[in-house]
């Protein structure tokens, strides 16, 4: 016997239909959980059943970016009563508004000192997330740069040859500086750097760029 777990994104509006379908198909309700996302809250509903081939399917359905300020979640306790602790928990710890819970404690399920304590993003987590995002951005920028460079080389060779054919005598003039391209390359370079330091570097870069452009103009 095997085991497989899957994650499928769904819309909040489809939740009740899905739960009804799972209930009628004889699935067991495994759990419901909340997780803080970049925007809003992710809700994950899980169902488990053994399929015809004997594999146990743990199916997780993810509702992404639920906004507690404007939306309410319909309760699934009508189909699966065992969901009541999780829905109360979601309300007490994350501030998720659940509508129609069969056993509703109205915020008194967990005796915690504040509303939605799990929805608070601590400074440590924020710092860790920003650092991870910076590293990821730096990596992406590096890759993009490498790709652009590869494409640029391939693309630059052909026109250069074509241009060189009719005017073999012409001096290879210095390519005009494209400030936008330079800026983009610089941003990619500093993507992984501490924000304060990045600001200083950016200012220095702007001054340098201006000087170079002026120097080139003067030369012409």
């Amino acid at each position: 016997m095997a085991f497989q777990s899957t994650f499928t994104p769904i819309e909040l509006g489809d939740l009740l239909n899905l739960t009804r379908a799972k209930h009628d198909a004889g699935y067991r309700f495994a759990q419901m959980l909340c997780a803080m996302a970049d925007e809003g809250i992710d809700l994950v509903y899980s169902f488990i059943k053994q399929d015809d081939e004997g594999t146990w399917q743990l199916e997780n359905y993810v509702i992404g970016g639920y906004d507690p300020a404007t939306q309410t979640v319909p309760s699934v306790t009508g189909y699966f009563l065992s969901a009541f602790p999780f829905e109360n928990e979601a309300h007490d710890l994350f501030g998720v508004k659940v509508e129609g819970n069969k056993i509703d404690f109205a915020g008194r399920f967990y005796q915690v000192a504040m509303d939605a304590p799990m929805a608070v993003i601590s400074p440590e987590q924020k710092a860790a997330r920003e650092k991870a995002a910076r590293i990821a951005a730096a990596k992406a920028a590096k890759e993009a740069k490498a790709k652009a460079a590869a494409a640029g080389e391939a693309g630059a060779d052909a026109p250069a040859q074509a241009a060189a054919e009719p005017k073999p005598a012409a001096q290879p003039a210095a390519a005009p500086i494209d400030p936008e391209a330079e800026r983009a390359a610089f941003e990619a370079k500093i993507a992984g750097v501490d924000p304060e330091k990045a600001d200083r570097m950016r200012a220095a870069f702007e001054v340098k760029l201006k000087k170079r452009i002026e120097a080139q103009k003067g030369g012409e």
Binding site: F7, L33, I103, Q111
Partner: protein, 362 residues
């Protein structure tokens, strides 16, 4: 028909080892409605993933529960290994299962003691716990801890058990089996136990399935679901694993299912020891979970299926770790089983669910 009265029950109650509060709506001696309440000891352990990295969180996961502590560290480690795609050597998987089954024996013995205490059989309680001490001694000798073992890491286990020691453990368990039979004899054949438990807190198979119950509680109502059947980790190599079922659905059936599961665990350990491979115990993984990667996993704890969910964010900390413990799943079933029972049977019914409220509120 008398007037309905509300009797508060718990969180401090002689029979309850756990802070569970019930509002029992009683008509004469009969309970007609039950409103459970937990939440007195919420500790915010799931929030701690932000401060403790994936390796340190094992020690937090262990502390979710004092009885199934090994199970929680195992379930957590398996989930994070799934998340990062870490391969665990077979020997480490077998050792994990051996420890996990030992902790099931110790948990069931503890529960049987508490159950005996609940219906007032002090001597049986003492004998159960005396046997449990032997299991704890095995833990102490093999991992260095009695309850909190800290034996698992992400990618393997921390300590190996020598083959000679494994055989000694099997011998010791066979010795325990003899004494255990005498205890079981009292549980299964003594008329005082039967008179307190037979027919109490009945739940039919349909009800158990509709309420999505898990663990021995469900299996006593003939629901053939045991996560060990899923063949995760070392369980996949068992010759023939069949969940222990009973179709009686009352408190007595729950005692019998657990009593049989202890012996089943001894058999599992014996089988695994006889075919344990020698391919190392694995090393602590040096990977970090990828951003947005998700993994979910189920594991059979002594009390039933436990669900784990983990999501990475590209750092050495997890973005979210979730453990859905068996008791929170069984709360609905407990409410159902309590409806219509005698007031004097309430403690027995609650105990046969084996509630672990501290697990429920991480």
């Amino acid at each position: 028909m008398g007037k309905a009265t509300v009797i508060p029950f718990g969180p401090q109650h002689p029979v309850l080892p756990e802070p569970l509060h019930l509002d029992l709506v009683v008509e004469d001696e009969r309970v007609i409605e039950v409103i459970p309440q937990i939440g007195f000891i919420h500790r915010g352990l799931e929030k701690l993933v932000e401060k403790r990295d994936i390796h340190q969180f094992i020690y937090v996961a262990e502390r979710i529960c004092g009885i199934c502590s090994f199970g929680h560290s195992l379930g957590y480690a398996e989930t994070v290994e799934d998340l990062m795609g870490v391969e665990v050597p077979k020997r480490a998987q077998y050792l994990r299962v051996i420890w996990h089954e030992l902790s099931r024996i110790h948990s069931h013995l503890l529960w049987m003691g508490l159950g005996a205490d609940a219906f007032g059989f002090e001597a049986l309680f003492m004998h159960c716990w005396r046997l449990r001490e032997r299991i704890l001694d095995i833990f102490e000798a093999t991992t260095g801890g009695r309850v909190i073992l800290s034996a698992v890491n992400i990618g393997g286990v921390n300590r190996d058990i020598e083959d000679s020691e494994l055989y000694a453990i099997v011998d010791k368990l066979e010795g325990i089996r003899g004494e255990y039979h005498e205890i079981c004899n009292a549980f299964v054949n003594d008329y005082s136990v039967a008179s307190r438990l037979v027919g109490v807190g009945y739940l039919s198979q349909e009800e158990a399935e509709a309420l999505c119950m898990v663990g021995p509680f469900a299996r006593a109502s003939n629901v053939a679901y045991d996560c060990r059947m899923l063949g995760r980790g070392g369980y996949g190599d068992l010759e023939n694993f069949q969940p222990i079922l009973s179709d009686e659905g009352d408190c007595y059936a729950r005692v019998k299912v657990r009593a049989a599961e202890v012996e089943q665990s001894i058999d599992i350990i014996k089988e695994l020891v006889s075919k344990i491979p020698h391919d190392g115990i694995g090393e602590k993984s040096k990977l970090t979970p990828a951003d947005g990667a998700m993994a979910s996993n189920v594991l059979e704890q002594p009390r039933g299926e436990c669900y784990y969910f983990a999501r990475g964010n590209g750092t050495k900390n997890l973005d979210r770790m979730r453990m859905r413990t068996p008791t929170s799943q069984n709360l609905a079933g407990m409410v159902k089983a309590l409806e219509g029972c005698e007031l004097a049977d309430v403690p027995n019914i609650i105990l046969t669910i084996d509630p672990c409220i501290s697990c429920c509120e991480r």
